[in-house]
């Protein structure tokens, strides 16, 4: 163990400590000696009766080395002409239950965005690497889906999961991830495992040398609420934008997103057929319904500030009534005052 740590330290010193630990959103550790940054993340989530379909895509890139200044927040432009021979990363997403994974389509986001825009306008005028399998980590699924090399792992211990990652890198003849990355991963994973999020989806990516919006993957799993993992990316030094399209049978409760920094930018009912046009898998859960709620959530900021996952609930909300009451209060008070004065004045004159 001590020897492994020594080897890691040696690799890190060669790799250059000026490079910050990197986690692109939904959690990623760089395999090669590069910094990843994430421009944006798009997700469409359909949820009904404890079943969630999550379609997730992110735009990952590698900045020019000349852009990197120590102690400066990472906020680069996408890559230019400078050639970075290899920029590979391992993305991680923790899930509460065993997922089924399949390929999605980036076109779905464009369609959903189009639906939102149309409706808003109408309203307004919104594993190959199965080398390490031990008692606490088991690979339960592995498949190559398009550009994604997906491995679903079940882990009950953070250290074992980290060992699995190191073994995975070794098995693929990849350089070791930096110790900072490994530590960041361990710190994040511990909390998830403590909260019984034991399924981790690893996606091995070869980013090459340009900004890429990756074809989304679809994860289908059981969850008590609309779940979207954010903490896993909490140590990234980058500003990013996350856009979530939620499809549900009822309205999102505003209290369930309170304090997360997400803002509801659109909320409205749309025809299920429109969702089907975007991606029929997202509409599968709502068979028999004609209309569903489409809610768009947007978050912008420093990914390091993400310290909790989204667990969104739907249904009746006191918050909405409270807003309506507060909005109507000044007008109601004015009416009451006017009525009282008129009654008083005309009562007096009639006497």
């Amino acid at each position: 163990m001590a020897m492994r740590a020594g080897v890691l330290l040696a690799i890190i010193s060669i790799g250059g400590l000026a490079l910050s630990p990197v986690l692109a959103d939904r959690g990623a550790i760089p395999i090669d000696d590069v910094i990843l940054y994430q421009e944006s993340q798009l997700a469409a989530i359909a949820w009904k009766d404890g079943e969630e379909i999550l379609m997730l895509s992110s735009s990952l890139g590698v900045p020019r080395m000349s852009d990197i200044a120590p102690l400066r927040p990472v906020n680069f432009s996408p890559i230019g002409a400078e050639v970075i021979p290899l920029a590979r990363a391992l993305e991680i997403i923790p899930l509460p239950s065993m997922p089924e994974v399949e390929e999605g389509s980036i076109e779905a986001f464009r369609r959903l965005s189009e639906i939102e825009r149309t409706h808003a306008e109408r309203a307004l005028g919104l594993a190959e690497g199965l080398l390490v399998v031990n008692r606490d980590v088991s690979v339960v699924y592995h498949e190559i889906i398009g550009p994604h090399d997906v491995t679903v792992v079940r882990a009950k211990d953070a250290d074992e999961l980290v060992s699995w990652v190191i073994g995975y890198a070794r098995g693929h003849r990849l350089p070791m991830p930096s110790e900072d990355s490994i530590d960041a991963l361990r710190n994040r994973v511990v909390n998830y495992i403590d909260e019984e999020y034991t399924y981790f989806v690893f996606d091995f990516l070869n980013l090459g040398s340009s900004m890429k919006t990756l074809e989304p993957l679809i994860y289908r799993f059981r969850s008590d609420a609309i779940y979207y993992p954010l903490r896993i990316s909490g140590t990234i030094e980058s500003y990013s934008k996350i856009t979530l399209f939620l499809i549900s049978e009822d309205r999102v409760r505003p209290e369930s997103i309170e304090g997360t920094g997400f803002e509801i930018t659109y909320e409205g009912m749309v025809d299920l057929s429109e969702v089907e046009e975007a991606d029929e898998r997202l509409a599968e859960l709502f068979v028999g319904q004609e209309r569903v709620w489409l809610t768009t959530l947007v978050w912008m900021g420093d990914l390091r500030s993400l310290d909790r996952d989204l667990n969104i609930t739907i249904g009746f909300s006191l918050e909405r009534i409270k807003l309506a009451i507060i909005r109507a209060t000044p007008i109601a008070v004015a009416f009451a005052l006017i009525a009282a004065i008129y009654v008083r004045v005309y009562g007096r004159t009639s006497r």
Binding site: H119, L124, R327, I331
Partner: protein
């Protein structure tokens, strides 16, 4: 002379009442119709307060016409409410409170609210002066009327 001042204040009350009411009602209506406007909560409250102020201004006119003291009270209260709403909105904007909520789509509405509140300031000041200077006469008028009805 006092009749002139009273009629001037009534005309100004109509102007400021309608001037505040129409844009604020449009803004509030749009907010209520828009699919989700929870983020622009402060704008809604501002519009709602302006509507309340406008209602009071318009409601005070028949009472002022009758020289009823309560009419003067609502008229002056309306001016004070509108003025304080403007100051609150301006302070929030200047301090950057809620600016995240205003961003992009609601920014113009916030600006419009500030503009109408600002434009209404001068008429409100004139109304307040006119109403306070004629207040005493209204009291006299009422006493005279009371005496007449008792005889």
């Amino acid at each position: 002379m006092s009749v002139g001042r009273i009629y001037t204040s009534m005309v100004l009350l109509v102007m400021s009442g309608l001037g505040l009411m129409i844009p604020s009602a449009i803004i509030l209506g749009i907010m209520m119709l828009s699919p989700y406007s929870g983020g622009a909560f402060l704008i809604e409250i501002g519009a709602s307060l302006y509507i309340a102020s406008a209602l009071m201004a318009l409601a005070s006119i028949p009472l002022i016409n009758k020289r009823v003291t309560e009419g003067y009270v609502i008229g002056i209260l309306s001016c004070l409410l509108s003025f304080s709403t403007f100051i609150i909105l301006l302070s929030l904007m200047a301090l950057g409170i809620g600016q995240y909520e205003y961003y992009n789509r609601y920014y113009q509405m916030a600006m419009l609210l500030l503009a109408i509140g600002g434009l209404a300031l001068l008429p409100e000041l004139i109304i307040s002066i006119l109403l306070t200077t004629t207040w005493g006469e209204s009291k006299g008028y009422q006493t005279k009327e009371k005496a007449m009805t008792s005889t």
